[in-house]
């Protein structure tokens, strides 16, 4: 299949004090297997909404359009079914789970997904081996597994924890929602390497970012510019460079 993700004419609204407010106004996007696509755009253009709608957050109502994931209707699936099908969202603000041990959380998630995919579950030893290897690659301290999920983590630690989850869950499509924001140079490099390690013909990524830096590491196949709930321009990596130099103003004017 040449389309891992195919979004057509997607419209979505959010409830704003009782009246629906349209955030996505007709998104068309195709991501083939093995490709990394970037979405850039000014604040409030609907980038995060798109990622939440794809992951299945029910605060948003899809009013028209479709999203097919490996040919299946993504929008009728529960969030956990989307995860099992191979979709992963790295949260812009990872959620803290007080009282939930990070290692238990990871193993529960990994085994839930493996079960749903018809794969054998990992026992304690197998899990530990896999997670140790992953934390080492991400330069994460072992004690992060013993702590409660994201509780007391620094911004950088939270983002690394997202990449750790992504590594363990082996998605076919990862949506990275500003995973690079708030990271220092070293943390950015580690996170980027974490994503690069997953790259294969069976792994695609949709990278939402404001910065050229992460894209320098990842080398995206396509770059899309989003404004006012639509993708107004698509192109190669040179588009990111242009935005970095000129800002969004020229694109916005052009689209208006």
């Amino acid at each position: 299949m040449s389309e891992l993700l195919k979004i057509s004419g997607l419209h979505a609204t959010i409830d704003a004090d009782g009246t629906p407010k349209e955030i996505l106004r007709g998104i068309d996007l195709v991501i083939p297997p093995g490709e990394v696509h970037a979405i850039m755009g000014p604040n409030g253009c609907g980038k995060s909404t798109l990622s939440y709608v794809l992951a299945g957050r029910d605060d948003y109502e899809v009013t028209s359009g479709s999203a097919l994931f490996s040919g299946k209707d993504l929008l009728t699936m529960e969030p956990e079914e989307r995860a099992a099908a191979g979709l992963f969202l790295a949260f812009q603000s990872p959620v803290e789970l007080p009282g939930v041990n990070n290692a238990n959380f990871l193993r529960t998630a990994v085994n839930a997904v493996r079960r749903a995919r018809g794969e054998p579950e990992l026992d304690a030893v197998g899990f530990l081996k896999a997670v140790r290897a992953a934390t080492k690659n991400l330069s994460m301290a072992d004690d992060m597994l013993k702590r409660n999920v994201n509780v007391g983590f620094s911004g950088g630690e939270k983002k690394r924890n997202e990449v750790l989850q992504m590594t363990m869950l082996q998605p076919t499509l990862a949506i990275l929602d500003e995973t690079d924001s708030g990271l220092d140079v070293d943390a950015l490099r580690i996170v980027a390497e974490g994503v690069q390690n997953l790259r294969s013909p069976n792994f695609s990524a949709l990278v939402i970012t404001h910065h050229q830096k992460l894209l320098d590491y990842l080398g995206p196949d396509r770059v899309h510019v989003m404004a006012k709930g639509r993708i107004i321009r698509s192109g190669g990596p040179e588009l990111a460079k242009q935005i970095n130099e000129e800002g969004y103003a020229a694109f916005l004017k052009e689209a208006a």
């Binding site: 992951a55 299945g56 957050r57 029910d58 529960e78 969030p79 956990e80 989307r82 995860a83 099992a84 992963f88 969202l89 949260f91 990872p94 959620v95 789970l97 007080p98 009282g99 939930v100 041990n101 290692a103 238990n104 959380f105 193993r107 529960t108 998630a109 990994v110 085994n111 839930a112 997904v113 749903a116 304690a124 899990f127 530990l128 409660n148 989850q165 869950l169």
Partner: protein, 435 residues
């Protein structure tokens, strides 16, 4: 008995056993009960917890003796279910009576044990004229455990199991327990109350535990109340805490149709500390009440209360926490927090904090939160592939585990976690077994 028309609830359920008492303490307690009756919701301390479950029944004294084989089997089951308990010295009571055949024969050096039946003594800590349930216990107490730890002895952990069994008719038992921890000594008491077999008969378990914690001593008191729906559990605990001593308590309320755990703590010496923490997981028509009265009677003392409740169906939880800071108790540090997760629209929490402060240099805070599961947390878990029901269970468990984590004694901590996980599994299905 000179019965003045009681303003309270009728004593009929216990009337036959309350007449003709000989011992002066018991007689006085019965007289007090006759005067006030059992509390109705008109009594402020019982405003949220209604004792109507006791009405319309007659509670007999438990029969002497029990089915030894059934009790041994039940005990083996409890020890198997709670890893870590088996190797510990234990005291077992059946229907409120000390059962030597189920208990350890010997205790480590420095621990003195006797039973209340062998050596009855009500002590001086309780106030039967102020608490009807203590009066009822005083009038009808048959047996109980009496433990004392000699000064500077680390007595380790002792398990204290209360079994209810052979319940063919309605019975009540009113054990009287006393614990003394000598100067600089340490003890962890792990108390477990269970119903062995379910029967048509209802029963009332009405224990009173008094404890005296001497200077620099430490008492950990963990209680798991997991009795059947046929049980009403009304417990009162007293703790007197001397200078630099600590009473660290935790109650896990899982069982019985109506349960109240009432704690009276007096911090008598400077730099004493108390924790009255707890968690309740209630469903069906259960009512669970954690009531505390903490008196800061000396300067520089610390009191901590964190109680969390998870309620489903039509369950109701009550939290009443009174902190009294006497004039002398400068530099008091008091904290009280009661939180509830209401998982159904028909569940209810009633929280009543009360601060009464006579000192002028104190730090006392209290708070309460009520809510449902956090949607962001739920979505986060589901987005990682965890099915909805399992994600909900993980969050409920996490909410309660955070309070259990306040228990410092490692063995007690592990046993509480096991009991909690088992209760959650029984209620909402098996969770993923994780590392």
């Amino acid at each position: 008995m000179n019965v003045i028309t009681p303003i309270g609830r009728s004593l009929t359920p216990f009337a036959a056993r309350l007449s003709g008492l000989k011992d002066a303490d018991r007689k006085a307690a019965a007289g007090e009960l006759a005067r006030v009756g059992l509390p109705t919701p008109h009594v402020e301390a019982w405003h949220y917890t209604n004792l109507r479950a006791l009405s319309g029944r007659v509670f007999s004294a438990p029969a002497a003796g029990f089915d030894e084989a059934a009790a041994q089997k039940a005990l083996a089951g409890i020890l198997a279910d709670n890893g870590g308990l088996a190797g510990l010295p234990r005291l077992v009571l059946v229907n409120g009576a000390f059962a030597p055949s189920l208990s350890s024969a010997e205790f480590p050096a420095g621990i003195v044990f006797t039973s209340f039946a062998r050596s009855p003594d009500f002590g001086t800590q309780t106030a039967p004229d102020r608490d009807a349930l203590v009066a009822l216990n005083t009038a009808l107490a048959g047996d109980g455990i009496r433990l004392s730890v000699k000064p500077h002895v680390n007595a380790g952990r002792i398990v204290f199991i209360s079994l209810a069994m052979g319940l063919e008719e309605d019975i009540s038992f009113h054990p009287r327990h006393a614990v003394e921890v000598g100067e600089g000594a340490r003890l962890s008491l792990i108390e477990i109350a269970v119903t062995v077999e379910k029967h048509a008969g209802a029963y009332l378990h009405n224990p009173v535990l008094t404890s005296v914690i001497a200077e620099g001593a430490h008492l950990t008191h963990v209680k798991i109340q997991h009795e059947a729906d046929q049980a009403v559990h009304l417990a009162t605990v007293y703790a007197d805490v001397a200078s630099r001593a600590t009473y660290d308590s935790f109650t896990l309320g899982l069982g019985s149709v109506l349960a109240r755990h009432e704690v009276h703590v007096t911090l008598r010496g400077d730099h004493a500390g108390v924790h009255v923490n707890g968690a309740q997981l209630l469903g069906g028509e259960q009512v669970g009440d954690i009531t505390s009265v903490i008196t800061h009677g000396a300067p520089d003392c610390i009191s901590r209360q964190t109680v969390r409740n998870v309620l489903t169906d039509r369950a109701r939880a009550v939290f009443q926490g009174k902190v009294l800071v006497e004039r002398v108790a400068q530099k008091t540090d008091g904290y009280q927090m009661n939180q509830a997760l209401l998982l159904s629209p028909t569940s209810e929490i009633d929280a009543k904090p009360e601060l009464e402060i006579y000192a002028d240099d104190v730090k006392c805070s209290h708070g309460a939160t009520v809510g449902a599961l956090d949607e962001d947390q739920l979505f986060y878990l589901r987005s990682r592939g965890v099915p909805d029901a399992q994600a909900r269970q993980m969050l409920v468990e996490a909410f309660l585990v955070e309070t259990v984590d306040l228990v410092e004694d490692e063995t007690a901590h592990v046993i509480l976690l096991q009991a909690l996980e088992k209760a959650l599994t029984e209620r909402v299905g098996a969770p993923e077994k994780t590392a």
